[in-house]
Amino acid sequence: MKPCYLGIDIGSISTKGVIIDQDHKIIRSLYLWTEGNPIDAVKRLLKGLKSDLPKCYEIKGIGTTGSARKLIGLMVDANIVKNEITAHAIGTLSYYPDVHTILEIGGQDSKIILIDHGIIADYSMNTLCAAGTGSFLSSQAKRLGIPIEEFGELALQSKNPVKIAARCTVFAESDLIHKAQLGYEKKDIVAGLCKSIVLNYLNNVGKGKQLKGPIVFQGGVSKNKGVVKYFEEVLGEKIIVDENSHLMGAIGIAILAHNNENGKTYPLNIQDISFQTKGQECSKCSNHCELLKIYRNDELIDSWGSKCGKY
């Protein structure tokens, strides 16, 4: 039996899973929508990955990252649970050892990671608002009646992108509606939107940072060719988008799971295990913590959210 390692990246919008071998080559990968239910998404993910995994492999490590990493880490009994910043950096470095800047725009957050000689030198993440992230793009695509997959192509056709306020989603949206009602062409509006994403990102997340090449762009939005084009235009550098750019976090955490191997073998049978969470407000003091209790097969295994440590 050959060892392999599973990395799961559970984002707000999509859930990504990869299985890599000892040399960190991808054996299987899967990408599906989280649909607001990370537990169910991971069950579907594991079912899919398991069904077409060659019989000669056994899973020797599982890592989880992304916004639901803690919950899923508990569910699959992961041997490593890590934040997405580290995971993305590790994953990208395995493909591009000399990368200097990683731009990442996901469904709900966007971040920038600067690498210096193979280690993270600096990073930042969007804070207060989701302007300039994937969820904004997809909601606007819906408003304009364009499938998100065609969004980038359409933007590329434009020669004259309209100007759209880049600071805040609310203003961007009203600007967009205004421009649409004035009669601008759809492709110009779409291009303007892509450009506003780029400017917003650079003003917010990339503020005060020196963006040197090679620059790698990843996360779901990196599949949007329009955004890539405007990044190149504004930064004056070539932007590398890997075909696996959406999987980098999952690859990174799988590599970390490999490094953290502890001899255990994972049978991947969690689809049969019932896994439940129950939310509850604690009324024992005026903190009124929102407690989340986690049950595996009706047995309480953990609870989160308590500020005083009673739970």
């Binding site: 910043i85 804070t127 005026s286 903190n287 500020k307």
Partner: protein, 355 residues
């Protein structure tokens, strides 16, 4: 006339010396307001202007909770930033809410008007005596000094304690003892006894552990609830934490130190920028040149002096190639977001160290 009930805002463990002082110099009921909880913040946020800095909301919430429990005298201090206007605005808001109380403002118009405070205290307690107050003021300042000394030691070592919670437990015991101090000698004795005990607590500290300096706005630094227990989180990672700002620094050392900082970092800053901005810039340079692995700068949202200091701090850190991260805390900050960033910061400095 019945006895007055006096209360004051919370900040870290400093309610103990304040309580000590007030009970000894005034013939009033001293109320330690309920601990800060989510409800405090909710109350404070509800009645505060949206864009005021967070300590305003926290302390206003505490005042409301204290008034609800029948406190009728409130004490607030002030400082060299918006903090200097807290008193006027808070007493106005509380009056508008229909509460009846006396508001003692220790710092008005940037100065401590001793005469005015004396008259106000005389009104609350006609038997108030200055000499006695001075005596206990000195004891209390010693108490604060001891507390901060022990605190500094704990901060550097709590991440490496062998029995989880042992430091906190001993520290609480010491503070309970302190509140019963009879005079200088008994306080001194307690301090030595407990500090010795704390120093004897078993730790397993590697010789070259990771070291982080935490700087920023004073209230967010000193009130763990306001910074989402940042120091504890760092300790869990096994990091030695250095923090300069504490009550003793602000009350007794700042005047002298800030001049030193201005001189020390004169290539970056030539004049004071209000509150602790200049201090933090000086500290940044110090941390950069004294073997620290990273700097964490925290502030409450909308803290103007620190916003002014941040670009300079970033510049110094760039020059010295020092990892730095900035946090802005508000009543609505999500704990998960902080954890993610902190964990990544820890990963980053650890990787750099290994290199």
């Amino acid at each position: 006339m019945s006895k007055h009930t006096i209360s004051f805002p919370h900040m870290g463990n400093y309610s103990i010396p304040v309580y000590y002082l007030l009970t000894h110099i005034l013939n009033v009921n001293v109320m330690i307001a309920p601990k800060i909880t989510s409800k405090t913040i909710e109350l404070g946020t509800k009645y505060s202007p949206e864009f005021v800095c967070t300590p305003f909301k926290y302390t206003l919430g505490t005042f409301i909770e204290a008034l609800e429990l029948k406190a009728d005298v409130l004490i607030q201090a002030g400082g060299g930033c918006r903090y200097g206007y807290y008193s006027e605005l808070q007493s106005q808001i509380l009056e508008d809410l229909g509460y009846q109380f006396t508001y003692i403002n220790l710092v008005s118009k940037g100065k401590t008007d001793i005469k005015k405070i004396y008259h106000e205290l005389k009104k609350i307690d006609p038997n108030f005596r200055v000499l006695k107050a001075l005596y206990y003021l000195l004891i209390t300042s010693k108490m604060v000094k001891y507390m901060d000394k022990v605190d500094n030691y704990i901060r550097e070592n709590i991440g490496f304690e062998e029995v989880p919670g042992s430091f906190e437990h001993e520290n609480q015991k010491m503070l309970t003892d302190f509140s019963k101090a009879k005079g200088f000698f008994s306080l001194y004795h307690m301090y030595h006894k407990h500090f010795k005990k704390i120093k004897r607590l078993p730790i397993h500290k590697p010789e070259h552990c990771l070291k982080i300096g935490v700087i920023g706005e004073l209230y967010t630094l000193m009130e763990p609830f306001a910074n989402y227990h940042l120091e504890m989180t760092l300790a869990h990672y096994g990091i030695e934490v250095k923090r300069y700002t504490n009550a003793h620094y602000l009350l007794f050392e700042k005047k002298k130190e800030v001049k030193k900082y201005l001189k020390y970092a004169k290539e970056y800053i030539q004049y004071r920028m209000g509150a602790d901005a200049a201090d933090n810039i000086g500290r940044t340079k110090y941390l950069c040149t004294h073997g620290y692995d990273g700097i964490i700068h925290i502030k409450s949202s909308f803290c103007t002096p620190e916003i002014g200091a941040m670009p300079i701090i970033q510049k110094i850190c760039n020059q010295y190639d020092m990892p730095v991260i900035f946090f802005s805390f508000d009543a609505n900050t999500s704990q998960v977001g902080i954890e993610t960033r902190l964990e990544a910061f820890y990963d980053m400095i650890e990787m750099r160290r290994k290199k």
